[in-house]
Symmetry: C2
Subunit: 393 residues, 2 copies
């Protein structure tokens, strides 16, 4: 996404920079936002040759060039640099510290699923954790959702089924395929789990409404619709296609997940509340070729070859230093995160109640104590890094 | 150069692989030898767009892909990999260990001048060391060479001067410019110093002949010619242009030294036996543009930004492990090498009498004891790495 999106959310830097007397630098990733190689996004995305320079490794090299050039221009060669980011940005932060230790002396990798590649973690770990979030909120809610997919299919297959579904979910346009609704709900539950943050706690919003409806109706669809409406707020009608338009930012992420960051996420077993949908590399490649062209091949091994991942504890035990891997354990992506200390200076910080990237957001007086403590631990570690850095200078 | 050139010289692997029960793998660097992207070398070198993929970073990524794919195909995922190389190959070996610790558990970087970038070491360090090699062989030899450049210029400026020079050096084609001869001799002395290895010891060959001639003539040119002829052996005539044809391998190295590995070598002070010839980035860029096209810009900061180099001791003290930096101190390139231990596992091995890349060549029963000892130290360290690797497995 454009860096401007991050600026208004990732407030951890702005909150803490004054105390560190730090210069904050936000560097936009090439091909996102307004960072268009070849002069314009139209040209940058024009063909797969031009897209060939759209990789995480190239982005890291950009950061290196920008930071080194800034250091020179500001006569700040010996100033320590700490890089940070969340989600994919967190992966980039940890990889940057590993690949460019001469530029960044430390990294905060928030909610960075750097192990969600090849077969390092189970393909369905994301969905298992999301399911657990719902189970924790309410077993009735979990069971209702788990049952709902076949209910939707059953209704859709009946005469007037689509009309019934459209009416139940007050869709702006009539539903013409049950997968429209199922995909929407699937994604809605996952996002709710991923961003299940205070003060809203969307998982609770959904489950409270489902549980409340369960007291007055045994109809699964009515219960699901209650959760759907509670989360979205009362509207005249609901647009299931909202946000589905294909921006360059979205296309860019497709490009990266096709060629660079091939995350093998799949619901390969019937152990979640979601319908089974196994990951299949061939189908994945076909969908990539449908978006781009036939020359595009998914590269499922690239990230692991380039940045590692297997046996990370053994490999990095005596290699690398000064990386914080922070995770909220209710974040489905934490399943691909580093959750154990690798060494004294490669540390995992976990918040049992945390969700995706909470720690790097702006602090607020309504923050729960565990979140305030999480941020304090991170700052304490960074200050230790800096003290040692200046001692060794 | 093509990997086939290395195969017949870099015998350290073949000499020791059986003892380690190791598989030896020689991977050719892209764009050299027969490793032609875009289907052929003609196409690969056709334009600067195609040459854009010709970088050290891309070569490292190739090695990663090849090694990981081999490991998978051979079911050798947990087999330790040690990478090694000499000169530029030594740089690649050390950088590979730093960037791909998950693939290579150790590296031998033989005669790798990874610090010969930006202003990390003096620009003339190469020529200072080469000069010292000649001084050590004979002060008379050093003085004769140092004086010879102006002598050559003086003669060249006289009537029949070129004819006299051509006759003195028995050139196959008449000399038409004094720089022809001076460039040849300059390069000859440097190569002699760089490869001043047993049993031939070319610096001694040159200096012995110069000293011998000095007993019978005071003529500087005759003394220099004696050194020249002694090194090249008796021939009917001497071709100063021999080996000057522009192969793709040579063009490739020009490309890399223009865009990737910009080594600022220059004789900026009158403190060597060579004529003063300062390094100048503008002129350097112009010569690159003359070879390729006007879009080519020398990137003097790239290597340092990508791989580091400044304050290497501080930066790597707690980062990285298992790299041997081996250098022969009579090798002019050792001036850009890592000559001090950085940590317990980032170690410098130095041979006071050694020249360029001697340690990774085939052993021979005529090897001096210090060379045999140098190789034994390297093998001892590698065995320690392996013992620890298997312990941690």
């Amino acid at each position: 996404q454009p860096i401007t999106n991050d600026l208004v959310v990732a407030g951890f830097l702005n909150d803490n920079a004054p105390d560190f007397k730090a210069l904050t630098i936000f560097i936009e990733h090439r091909y996102y936002g307004e960072t268009a190689p070849f002069g314009s996004l139209d040209k940058a995305f024009d063909n797969t040759n031009n897209l060939g320079y759209f990789t995480s490794a190239q982005a890291l090299a950009d950061y290196a060039e920008v930071l080194m050039s800034l250091k020179k221009n500001l006569s700040a060669e010996s100033c320590p640099v700490i890089v940070m980011g969340g989600s994919y940005g967190g992966m980039l932060a940890s990889w940057f510290r590993l690949k460019y230790p001469h530029i960044a002396m430390g990294a905060l990798a928030s909610s960075a699923p750097i192990l969600y590649f090849e077969d390092i973690v189970p393909q369905d770990i994301y969905y298992v954790i999301a399911t657990n979030d719902f189970k924790e909120a309410s077993m009735n809610c979990y069971k209702t959702i788990r049952k709902s997919w076949s209910t939707i299919d059953k209704i859709a297959s009946q005469a007037n089924g689509f009309s019934l579904l459209s009416k139940k979910f007050k869709t702006c346009k009539p539903i013409s395929d049950s997968s429209e609704l199922k995909n929407y709900l699937d994604s809605m539950y996952n996002k709710a789990a991923q961003y299940d943050a205070p003060p809203g706690y969307p998982v609770n919003q959904i489950c409270d409404a489902i549980d409340k409806a369960s007291k007055t109706t045994t109809d699964t669809l009515s219960r699901i619709a209650a959760g759907f409406i509670a989360l979205n707020g009362k509207q005249k009608c609901y647009d299931l296609q909202a946000g589905n338009s294909l921006t360059y930012d979205k296309l860019g992420w497709y490009w990266q997940t096709c060629t660079d960051l091939v995350i093998p996420m799949g619901k390969n077993r019937d152990n979640t509340m979601f319908p089974v949908a196994p990951y299949n590399l061939n189908n994945y490649t076909k969908s990539c070729q449908a978006i781009f062209d036939d020359t595009v091949k998914a590269r499922p091994h690239w990230i692991v070859n380039e940045f590692g991942g297997h046996d990370i504890k053994r490999v990095l035990k005596k290699f690398g230093s000064n990386i914080i891997f922070s995770n909220g354990l209710r974040d489905p992506y934490s399943g691909g995160g580093v959750l154990q200390n690798i060494s004294n200076t490669l540390v995992a910080i976990k918040a049992a109640k945390g969700s995706h990237c909470l720690d790097i957001q702006y602090s607020s007086k309504d923050d729960p104590i565990w979140l305030t403590k999480m941020r304090a631990s991170i700052i304490k570690i960074m200050k230790d890094w800096l003290a040692e850095y200046y001692k060794m200078l």
